[in-house]
Symmetry: C2
Subunit: 319 residues, 2 copies
C-alpha cells in the first residue's frame, strides 16, 4: 500500500512528513499534478466491471487500487508545466487524475468534496457556532452603509480577506494583513468588492490548534498589546505547546465531524479573560512553522494517519 502526496516540488512541510513516512518504512509517491503529463503519466481503464488505474512518476508506477491514502497538500494545477499548457489541457488532465483518484478506495486528507465547502468563511462561522465555539460578530457585505453601521456598533473592528491574499498576478505577491479600523473609515469602496469585518478581540495570545484525525496539537504565542495580525512581524515571542481545554477539544471534534475533515488548522484569539475565540479553520493550513518552533510532533501524526490501515473514511465510502 502506498501513500500518494500531491504537492509542488518546493514544500518543506511535505518533506517533513515524507521523512517520517520513510522512517516508518511506508511506500510514498509524490506528485505535482502540474507535471502531468510529462514527468508523470497515468492510465485509467474501465473494464471487467471496475475501474483500474496506474500512476507513474519518474518511472515508478503504482496501482491506484493499492493507494492507502491521498494527501492533498499543495498540488499545482494539472498540466500547468506542460509544453503546450492550456485551460483545456488542465481540465482534461484534472478529469483523468481526479476521476481516477475519486474511484480509488484511498482515504483522503482532505477529500476535495469537503475541502471546497470548508474554505467558505461564512459557512465556517455557522459550523463553528453549532460546534460550541465562541465566534466574534462578523459581517461580509457589499453595502457601505451596513459596513459603517457594523463598525459604529462594535467601535473597533478588523477587516480581512476571506480568500487569502491576491495571487498569480505580475510582480511580487501581495501581503494583506488583518487590519484594525474604526467607524470613521471610508466605506464607499465596499460597494466595489465585498468586505469582511469582524469585531476586534483584544487578545493576550494567538492560538493555533492543529487537528490530525483525532489527535489535537495546540500552540500558543503571546501577543503584544497592540498586535493585530500575528502572522506578520517579529515580536520575539515563539509558539509554545499549550494544553487543549476539554470544552475546546469537544468542539474541535464536533467541527471536523460536521465538516468531514481529516486535517484542520484552527486559529483562535485568546482574550484577556482566557477565552479562545474562533477566528477561522483552514483545512489546508500550514503546520511546519508551528512544529519547528513548538516541537509539537504534528508531521509524525500526519504520517501516521496517512500510513495507517484504518477503516475507510465515510466520504470515500459513498463511492
Amino acid at each position: 500500500m502506498t501513500v500518494l502526496i500531491l504537492t509542488s516540488d518546493e514544500d518543506v512541510t511535505a518533506d517533513m512528513v515524507v521523512a517520517q513516512l520513510h522512517t516508518a518504512g511506508a511506500s510514498v509517491l509524490r506528485l505535482d499534478p502540474a507535471d502531468l503529463p510529462g514527468k508523470a503519466a497515468l492510465s485509467v481503464e474501465y473494464r471487467d466491471g471496475d475501474v483500474h488505474g496506474h500512476l507513474s512518476v519518474h518511472g515508478r508506477t503504482v496501482c491506484v487500487g493499492a493507494l492507502r491514502s491521498v494527501w492533498m497538500r499543495r498540488p499545482g494545477e494539472p498540466a500547468a508545466h506542460a509544453a503546450h499548457a492550456s485551460p483545456w489541457l488542465t481540465a482534461e488532465t484534472r478529469q483523468a487524475l481526479f476521476g481516477m483518484l475519486h474511484s480509488s478506495p484511498a482515504r483522503w486528507m482532505n477529500h476535495p468534496r469537503s475541502a471546497e465547502q470548508a474554505r467558505l468563511k461564512p459557512w465556517q462561522l455557522r459550523v463553528a457556532h453549532h460546534s460550541g465555539f465562541a465566534v466574534p460578530p462578523t459581517v461580509f457585505t457589499t453595502a457601505p452603509r451596513l459596513a459603517r453601521e457594523f463598525a459604529e456598533e462594535h467601535r473597533k473592528v478588523v477587516v480581512k480577506a476571506a480568500s487569502g491574499p491576491p495571487r498569480g498576478g505580475p510582480g511580487p505577491a501581495l501581503v494583506l494583513p488583518t487590519t484594525l479600523i474604526g467607524p470613521d473609515a471610508d466605506f464607499t469602496a465596499v460597494a466595489a468588492g465585498p468586505a469582511l469585518l469582524q469585531r476586534y478581540i483584544p487578545k493576550r495570545a494567538d492560538i493555533r490548534l492543529t487537528c490530525v484525525g483525532t489527535e489535537l496539537f495546540a500552540a500558543r504565542k503571546t501577543a503584544e498589546p497592540d498586535q493585530i495580525d500575528g502572522r506578520y512581524g517579529d515580536t520575539g515571542h515563539l509558539w509554545e505547546p499549550v494544553a487543549v481545554p476539554e470544552r475546546i477539544g469537544a468542539s474541535v471534534r464536533e467541527y471536523v465531524a460536521r465538516a468531514q475533515l481529516a486535517y484542520a488548522a484552527f486559529d483562535f484569539a485568546e482574550d484577556l479573560d482566557g477565552v479562545w475565540w474562533f477566528l477561522e479553520c483552514n483545512q489546508g493550513g500550514q503546520f511546519g512553522f508551528v512544529e519547528l518552533e513548538s516541537g509539537l510532533p504534528i508531521s509524525a501524526a500526519v504520517a501516521r494517519w496517512l500510513a495507517e490501515d484504518a477503516t475507510r473514511g465515510t466520504v470515500a465510502a459513498v463511492e
Copy 2:
C-alpha cells in the same frame, strides 16, 4: 419562500422554468453571480449565534433564510462583470455568495459538493457500473502504447473530450465531436494530453434520460447507421418520448442516490439488440432542446422540485 436561480442573462432553458414558476405563483429571484457586486448586492452577518444573509438583485431583497431552493443552472464567475474584475475579486465574491448560500437551509439543484465530483468521467463509469448499467470498456491515458493496444483490442473505438470542448479562448468556440478511429491512428500525441477512448457501440438510437428528483423523462432519437455523435448534424430524426425500462429506472435512481444529485441528464446508446449503454451522466445537462422536440414536461418538473416544500436534502442537512 423564494426560489433562487443562478444563471446568466441569456438562458432560454431557465426562461422556461421561470415561466412555470410564475404560473405556479412561486417567488423567484434570478441572479448571475457575474453581476455581483454591481447590479446585485449582498450582506451576510454572523451575530446572535447564527448566520443571517440578504441578497438584493435590481433593488429586490430576499432573506437567505427564506430561500426554498437554489438552482445552479449556468452561473457566471462571481464578479466577472465588475468594473475592476480580477481573480482576487472573484475569489472574495465567491466566498461571500457561496459561503452565505451554503449556510442557508435551501435545497440545491445540485449541491456544489456533489456537482464537482459528479463531473469526473472515470468516477461516473464506476458509479454507473455499480448502479447496474451496461458500460462500454473505456481507457483514459497518457500512454500512446496503451491507447494503441486498446484500439487494437476493440478495433472500433471513439475518442472524446472528458471535460467538454475548449472554452474561453480567442476566436469562435471550438466544436469537438466524438470521433471514430481505428487501430491505425497515430497515438503519439496522447503523451502530450490524456486521451479518452471508448469501445464504439453500433447504435440504432440515442437516448437522453432526464432525472428530476424522482421523476424520469426519456427521449429517443433514431440514429443513422454511420452516425457517431448525435449532437452535431441534422439527420431529420427528432427526439421522441420513450418508456423507461424498469431496470434502467432502478439503475438511474441508484446512480443519483450514490451521486447525491437532484438533477441529472443521462446519455445512452441503444444498440442493435435494444440494450441501453451508459455513455455519461451530465449533472448540469441541457433539457430545453429535448422538451421542445419531444414535448416531455421537464421544465414543469424542475419548477415543481424547486418550489415544493420537501424535506430538506441530505447534503444540505449536514450543515
